[in-house]
Structure formats: structure tokens, C-alpha cells
Point group: D2
Chain length 210, copies 4
């Protein structure tokens, strides 16, 4: 699985801690981590949480990433922004049981976590435990398993519902504030990571045209 | 403020506990609670979490409610469904500090809480404390207050972004699965509560036509 | 390691859930679980949390158990009672990071957990995760490991301090309310489990004399 | 009520934050805060968590304080040390519901909180909420109130039990490592705060003789 890590500006200084925790857990499981940044508080490209949402939408709808790990101070801003996008189902995860249940019941494609609120000493341990619950096994098998069918059905209904409420991603890209969009993809490694992995020519062409 | 309470089927049996906690806190503050249900596990009208999302979108976009309090087993399903709707900014709240920060930083118009995961003995105390943080004072003033301006700016950017990603609510109502929509508004008190409070004739007319 | 499970009366009905979670995790690691009970809410032998403390003291000071897993509604009563005993260092554990840090930093010989407060749906998952952190590896190696020496030193100072504040266990047994003591060891499996594992003849003799 | 604040060396730098949160809440309620320190990481008098326990025992058994607020990185070390002392019943508090339930059910005379684990941005809000639950009303009235009598009975049994397991405080003071004891009372404001408030001449005399 291609897992994209996206950090916004308020917690950019923690990108190293988060990236370490994520790779420590998921690389041995055979997943790749694409660190879209930010990388430090004073990066040239400043990514705010609305831009996180936009970037999450781009990565998931283009197939450049299979899953997005994001967050912000409380996790709420980046979660709201990600969930504003078509085809994005972003959980807010605080502890390992949240992570497990989100994976098994909701089977979403993104999570946001708080990287400031509640993020104290040894928080890297909780990150690792949450990532392990998300990525170590098959998702969407339900918990308890007897309820797998109804859980799957509800996910399908939600996905259909959201397909009706949102415009498709290419339309979104064309209609949103173009300066915001440019900023969302201005990260120093965006081009290298994205175009090598995206499977959507129309999105690629549009972003290259900017 | 008109606060709508929406419970889905998996936690319907707790509607009484949640309604009591909510009214205990917010009525003395001068707010009204509209209990859209479900009211018990065996209500005729079974509301699933995708329906919760749809109903949340209807209530907020029509002005029938100023704020929606919802949730489900983990809170995630109802949060995802609510955030799939235009104009809805739904936080996932676990503790009072979450509630305070969501109100002050994100200034959303809906919250989802977990009513099964972590919901043990004395959980009604935590509900009350969360509601108090959300509804006792002015929201959106920032925390810390020195960062109020940047927080407000980001909220504005997110609201504009979401306005571009989503269809308007009336379009949504017309395009979603009409059986799902009928089920979402089939609660026994929906008609009484909604039409008396909605400020949007087009939404009213469309829903009445179903 | 011999791990004793002790449940008091208010949460006795959950003994099965807790015992399952504990054995699921620790038996594959090579540890034994001795379920001292209670086993259900209507057991003949009703164990209150002060009795839990006394029983914990007996098991750990006699060597009948190497570690005690206990708890109550909030965990606080059983934790206070256990820590009132000589030679008992009982943590209050809520989440897996608590469990890990307690094992590595404090290296205690007992934990209490809340089995009512915060104990909702899927709580068995958190129990398992906590037990895994406690019992899967070597304890007392410090976190971070660079601070292992100072952490070990402080544990030693605390152990010496507590050796001065408390009477020895045999003295305690002789001086406490003898009816309370009899009730603490009245569980239906106490005699079978205890006398087969205790390494302290004086304690055995005294308890047999009651 | 006289509330003593005791911070140990690992979290000494947070004494200001904790003291501010505590005074903000309890002074308007009519309580006094005695800040025994530490005050900063580089204080001359370095207080470790075993010393916190000893100091807690001194303050509560002498009547110099009615309640002790302490803690350490995870809260566990200071909690264990405090509970090793005669007459001390120290809870480990993480959230406001913990605080409320500890006050109402256990009615202890000390709390420890984690000041590093889970202590992130806006943690001062949680401190204030916890302190409010502890100190704003009458303690020991039970929750739910119907169970007040049985809760009170268990507290009494625990207090009697602990009275049998521990030596009295003066005996403790005479038997513990005298260098540890001197360090525990070496804080720069100890003498001013303690001798003005202690009600126990024998403890005063012994400490003055050191």
C-alpha cells in the first residue's frame, strides 16, 4: 500500500517524529510511505489544513496514494478539510482502539490525528500502536465479525451518498481557488512523488498546467 | 440556539440518557433541544448513520437547526456521513477539551460523539461536560485568543473550499437515493419539528413532495 | 510468570471478559493466570475493594503470584487498597501507553484498571492491548533507555521507603480485622490456588489457622 | 482548604503552568494554594518522586495541608510514593470525570496527574477542569448518591486497613533514610509554609531537629 503522510504548518516540526513512527511500523509490513511534508516549520511551502484537504483529495482520487495519514493540532481541521473532498473518508483517531475500529468498521482511506492536543511525552508510542492497528491486517472485516455484512452495507450506502453530494475531483480542481490549489501542491517533493504514482492522466494534466 | 439531537439505530436505546444530559446543560443556557430521535431501539423509523448525515444536512442547510448533536457507536460513521454534506462541519468529540477547542478553533455546526466505545459507567457526566464547553459561551473566539485571526481565516478558506466541492443541498436532495431520503425523514416527530423551524421554502417543498 | 486476577464485587460480572482477554494475551507468552475471582455478581464470597488490597498483599508477599491484575469501577478503590499493602506497587492503567510506561519505568507488581468508567463497547480490545504491553517483554528497562539507570535508582529508593512505612505482611495479617481477612480469602478457589503456589510457610500457617 | 502543590524534578519546569491553573480555579472557591515546589528545573533543591511521597505524608499527617496536588511524568511514580505513606489516599487523575468520581467515591486527600504523558497543547484546560471537579463542591457524597452509604463504608474499611498496614508518620520520619528526608524538606519555601500551618508539634520538632 502507498501511504501518504501530510503534515500542515502548525505541527510541521513534528514531521520527523511522525514519519519515523509510521515507517517503523508499516515498512516491515510491506507498505511504502510517501512523505509529502511539510518537513519543518520553516519550509518554503507552507501548507495549511484546508490545503491538506485538497492534497488528500488529489492523492486519493488520482490513485497516487492508497491511504493518507494526516493531522493537525487537534486533528479536527485536517479531518474536516479531508472529508470535504470527494471520495475521502477520513477518521479522527486518538487511540489504538479507535484505529482498529475505524479500519474494521468504516474502512476509510485517511486518518487525522491530533499532534498537539494530548501529544505529550512518549506520544510516538501511541502513534506506532495506532498505525499498527490500521495497517497490520485486512481492513473492513467488521467488528465483531458477525456484524460485518451490515457494516459493509452501511459503508456502501455512505459511499453512494457522498458520490451524490460532491463534485468529481477534476471539477473540484478546476473550481477551487487556484492559488490555494497551487499552494497545496507546492511541497518540494510533490512533483517527484505524485507524478510517479498517480494513475489519473486528467488530474496529472490539469495540475501540470498550473 | 436550536440544537437538534439525532441518534442512529445502533445506539438508539441511549437517546434518553443523551437527551437528558443535553437538556440539563443547554436549556438553562437558553437553548432549545429538538430531539429528532431515534427514541428507542425498536422505533418504527430506523435511522442508520448515512441517514444521520442526510438529516444533518437538511436541518443545517434549511436553518431548522443551528447545531446538530449526533453520534453512533464510535462516532465515526455519523461524523463521516455528516461531513459528506454541504455546509456541515462536524467534529468528533471525546472529551471536554476536544469540545472546547472545536468550538473555539473550528467553530463547526455539528458534533458526533461515541456512544458505545469508551461509553461506560458515569458517561453522562462526560456528555454534560462536553456540552457545556460547546454551548456555554461564544464560539469561534480562538484559543489562544492571540491566534483568533489566523484561525478565523482558515475556517473561511475551508468553508469556501467546501462550497466548491459540494453540490447545494437542494440538488443533493434531488439526486440522492430517494428511499434513503424518505427513511432519513421518517422519524415520528420530524414533520412537527422540522416544518415549524425550517427557513428554506424550497427544501420544505421538496421534502413535502416526497 | 504467575499472574493473579482479582475482581471485586461491583464488576464481578465482567470477570469472564477480563479473564478471557488476559489469558488470550498472556498464555501464549508462557504465563499462567490464576483467577481468584470473583466470578459473577452473585458469588457466595463477596469481595470488596479493601479485601482486594488485602488479597493482593497476601499473594505478592507470599510469592503465590508474581503479578496481580485487579481493578474496580474506576480502578481507584482497588489501586488504593493494593498500594496500602507492604511490597505492593500497583499502577492505575487506562491505555496501552500507560501499561508500557508503567512496566518500563515503575516496574510494579500489580495493576488496577477501570472496569466501569470508560468501559464501553470493544473494551476487551483495550484490555488485551494493555496486557500485551505489560507482559510481552522484559520490564524495568526504562523508557527512554538512556534514562534506565535513574529510573531504576528511583524505584529502589521507593522500595526502601515503603519498606520503612509498612509493617511486614505477617504482622499485617495478624493485626487487621480478622473478619475482613477471612472474607478476603473466602473465594471458592482460593485454597486450591494459593496453597499450591505460596512460598511462605508463615503466611500459609497463619491463614490456615483462621 | 489548604491545598499543597508538589512538583518533582522531571516536570519542575511546568510548576508555573500547574500553579496558575490551580490558583485560577481554587482561589475563587476560597481555598489557599501552598506551592511547595519545585519551581524550575534548576532549583537547588531537587525533589524526586520518592521525596514527593515523603513530603505528601508530612503535609497531610501534620495537618499543614488538607489536600496535596502532585504528579510526575506519568503520575505513577508520585502516586505510588504518596500511597506508600500512612494516612494518604492518592488518586491518579487523567480527566475531569476521574476527578469527580475520585472526589465523590474515594474522597481521598491527594491526587497525582501526568504532566508529561498526554500533556500536550492546551493541557492547562484539562488541569483546570480536573481541579474544578475536585474542589468546587462537597466531596464524599457518592455517585450515584443512592450508593453513598456503601461507598462511605468501604472508605472507612480501607482507612482502618491502612492504619494497620502502616507505621504512624512520626515513626516513619525517624526510620526512613535521613538524607532522603532532609532532601524532601529542603525546598526554599518549605520552612515558611510548613511551620506556619502544621498542627503537629511532634512532627515539627522532629523536622526542626534535622
Amino acid at each position: 500500500m502507498k501511504i501518504a503522510l501530510i503534515n500542515e504548518n502548525s505541527q510541521a516540526a513534528k514531521n520527523g517524529i511522525i514519519h519515523d513512527a509510521l515507517t517503523t511500523v508499516v515498512e516491515p509490513l510491506g507498505h511504502d510511505v510517501h512523505n509529502y511534508g511539510m518537513y519543518s516549520a520553516d519550509d518554503d511551502a507552507q501548507v495549511t489544513y484546508p490545503m491538506v484537504g485538497l492534497l488528500t483529495g488529489i492523492l486519493l482520487n488520482s490513485g497516487a496514494a492508497d491511504f493518507v495519514v494526516t493531522g493537525c493540532g487537534t486533528g479536527s481541521g485536517s479531518m474536516l478539510a479531508a472529508n470535504a473532498m470527494p471520495g475521502v473518508f477520513c477518521g479522527l483517531i486518538v487511540d489504538p482502539t479507535d484505529a482498529f475500529l475505524f479500519a474494521q468498521i468504516n474502512d476509510g482511506n485517511a486518518i487525522a490525528m491530533p499532534y498537539a492536543k494530548g501529544f505529550g511525552w512518549a506520544a510516538e508510542l501511541n502513534l506506532q500502536d495506532c498505525y499498527r492497528k490500521l495497517f497490520e491486517g485486512e481492513s473492513g472485516v467488521g467488528y465483531p465479525k458477525e456484524r460485518a455484512a451490515i457494516m459493509k452495507k452501511n459503508r456502501g450506502v455512505l459511499a453512494e451518498l457522498k458520490a451524490k453530494t460532491c463534485h468529481d475531483m477534476l471539477t473540484v480542481l478546476k473550481s477551487v481557488d487556484q492559488e490555494l490549489l497551487k499552494s497545496a501542491i507546492a511541497g518540494e517533493k510533490f512533483a517527484d512523488l505524485f507524478y510517479a504514482n498517480s494513475k489519473d492522466d486528467a488530474i496529472n494534466d490539469y495540475l501540470r498546467s498550473l
